[in-house]
Amino acid sequence: MKKSTTHSQENPVIRFFSSVRLAIFLLIALALTSIIGTVIPQGQSQQFYLDNFGPGMSKLTKILHLNDTYHSWWYLSLLALFSTNLIVCTLKRLPFTLKLFKKDNLAVRSDYLTRMPYKRIWRVRDGVLDNARIQKLLSTFQEKAGSFQKRSNVDGGTLFLVERGKWSYWGLYGVHLSILIIFLGALFGSFYGFKGRIMLMEGETTDHAVRFDTAAPIPLGFSIRCDHFFVSFYENGAPKEFRSDLTILENGKEILHKAILVNDPLEYKGITFYQASYQAIPEVTVKVVSSEGAQRSFIIPAFQKVSWPESGMTLALLKYIPNIHGVPAARVWVGDGTGQGHALWVLQGRTEQYNRGNTTYKLSLVSASQRYMTGLQVKKDPGVWVVWLGCTALILGFAIVFWIPHRRSWLWVGPKDGEMQVILSGQTNKNKIHFEKDFRELEDSINSVLGTNK
């Protein structure tokens, strides 16, 4: 396997693309260029690079797409070249491996066996090997080495062969093809899948997600509702659990409920929903008492205006702090309906005054609560199973390439140089230490068969 068959008339283009030297060059190039994207912050605006790196580097960043290094034309070209190298290399080695795989290892001469790295020759002194001893010899060979193939009339004798792991030559192809399979899975997923997000208030329902890359809405084909969101913390303040109770609806009918956690997403019709983030949206109840006698309580959620038409007043929540001096506090904006207004802090247990014209309003914080908005990451990736297939093949391939040897053990029995000889020889393409140990054991067993009743 180590030596490649080089023909003088070989196409230089093929020779270039199939060379291990190119593979080494590409591996080093990929290792070095991959560093760039870990040093330069990715996905920032052009202005960011200008501010932090100056005009020269900023221009280079733009030309070489260093703001998105791993999807830049030159990085993808390196990966394409890497794939080409893999494919051409595979195709070129195929006939060579097939030859190795189909090779008839019984078609050898006895001289060849004596040139093997592991060998032992016994000369049977009395010149004859009776049937009983041959039977004993073969059963020992079978017991120690495994079931054998047999061929008569090899150099006037009989040849027995135990061959193991001949198929292991294909492991290398498994490894190389699996990398291409992973690439294909990734490509397939990027063409036919999407990544996006959904922000859902508790109780809200949506039938689409928002794409990460283009911010375009993607219809889901069904609806999803967030029934509840829960967050809990450990005593040290670190988060313990983020949980969203979700319901899938189709045509207004509830199909399924599932509580998702960070490591436990919900999958429905090929689309997966992951717990990604959350926001606590405060909501306060404020009581307003007018000096003219009117009074009313308002529930003010964040980001919304609440109006009191009778008095021409609008209220909005600017900020909510759960705990100031032991009580909750809300910064409330009070508008007079004309765009003019005033912001004031309302602490629970105290009243704040707001004057408009001759009227005085007294504001007090009745209660405060939080509503949660859950942030879901939404993904569809039909290529992910192809990627896992590639990963599995990669690991199996490695195990075969590194640890499954092609072992051959020959036993030849016949007359040679005027006497009866028994030749034992063996060869392995990896893990020589282990093979040698097995071979010596086999040798000792055969020695004891041939050594007795001389």
């Binding site: 591996l27 290792a31 791993y70 997403p265 990669l394």
Partner: protein, 285 residues
């Protein structure tokens, strides 16, 4: 005195430092008995450390968190050191060359010393944040660190190879300091075997990380600096493996690659956390 995991693990630090010193003495002064003592001390330290890790696991249950001790920098350093010693002891048992210990055990001792003495490494048992609450944590950390530890040992072998090579009379004078090192051929083969072992586990580690990321965040690969550096490490060792197929790339170059590869491992392990986060934070600061 009440036996606690932190006591056992601090004790381990001193035992491993002692073992590394003994292996060094064994190598430089070539006293056979010191080598045997070094092995005994290392095995003893390994048992104490194993007990410490199991005890820490139990203690986390008493605290009500209940998770394997593989969740923060301190625990990962302890585990790295444990696997390094394990990989080394297997090699020593198979190859019967104690000199290698002088180049392998220092990695484990240094990791333990860093974990125990650095003020920036907190050794308290903390509960798992939601992102880490997964069975993949165990599979991912164990496989990655099997890779890292093998690469540490391969780096030690690479250093030995270069020292042996640089000395002009390496084969002729067996009693010299470099003469007592294993033969270049043996070192080269061991280095190759160790890199293969590490490479397989690094690959499994990257894959389990991808499966986990896909389950937790919905993306199996996001080019985050940690992921990218693990891939850079993978490229370096893939280079080393392919280099053996090209004539003229054996031995010395692979020794260098095993050292560069381990530097990349260290960067993947620490550098990404300490340096790149810094690089990223200056922009927002």
């Amino acid at each position: 005195m009440n036996l606690s995991s932190s006591y056992l693990l601090s004790l381990t630090t001193f035992i491993y430092l002692g073992a590394a010193a003994l292996y060094m003495i064994h190598w430089i002064f070539r006293v056979r008995q010191v080598g045997i003592l070094a092995t005994v001390v290392t095995v003893g330290g390994f048992l104490v450390q194993t007990a410490g890790i199991i005890l820490r696991w139990k203690e986390s249950y008493h605290l009500g968190y209940g998770h394997a001790p593989l969740s923060n920098l301190y625990e990962s350093l302890v585990f790295f050191s444990w696997v390094t010693i394990l990989v080394y002891l297997v090699i020593e048992w198979r190859v019967k060359k104690r000199v290698i210990g002088a180049f392998a055990t220092p990695f484990a001792s240094l990791a333990m010393a860093y974990a125990s003495f650095s003020p920036s490494v907190a050794d308290s048992i903390e509960p798992l944040i939601p992102a880490l609450q997964s069975n993949w944590l165990l599979a991912h950390v164990i496989t990655c660190f099997l890779g890292y530890a093998s690469f540490a040992v391969a780096c030690g072998l690479g250093i030995m190879y270069l020292i042996k090579m640089r000395s002009a009379h390496h084969e002729e004078v067996p009693e010299s300091v470099t003469g007592s090192l294993p033969q270049l051929k043996v070192l080269d083969d061991l280095m190759h075997q160790t890199i293969i072992f590490g490479f397989l586990w690094l690959s499994v580690g990257i894959i389990t990380g991808a499966v986990w990321a896909n389950q937790a965040w919905g993306t199996y690969w996001s080019w985050d600096p940690k992921e990218t550096w693990s891939l850079i490490t993978w490229f370096i060792y893939a280079t080393a493996l392919h280099a053996r197929f090209v004539r003229g790339w054996a031995g010395q170059r692979i020794a260098w690659l095993s050292i560069v590869g381990f530097l990349s491992v260290i960067f993947t392990y620490f550098g990404v956390n300490f340096l790149l986060s810094g690089l990223h934070s200056y922009g927002s600061g």
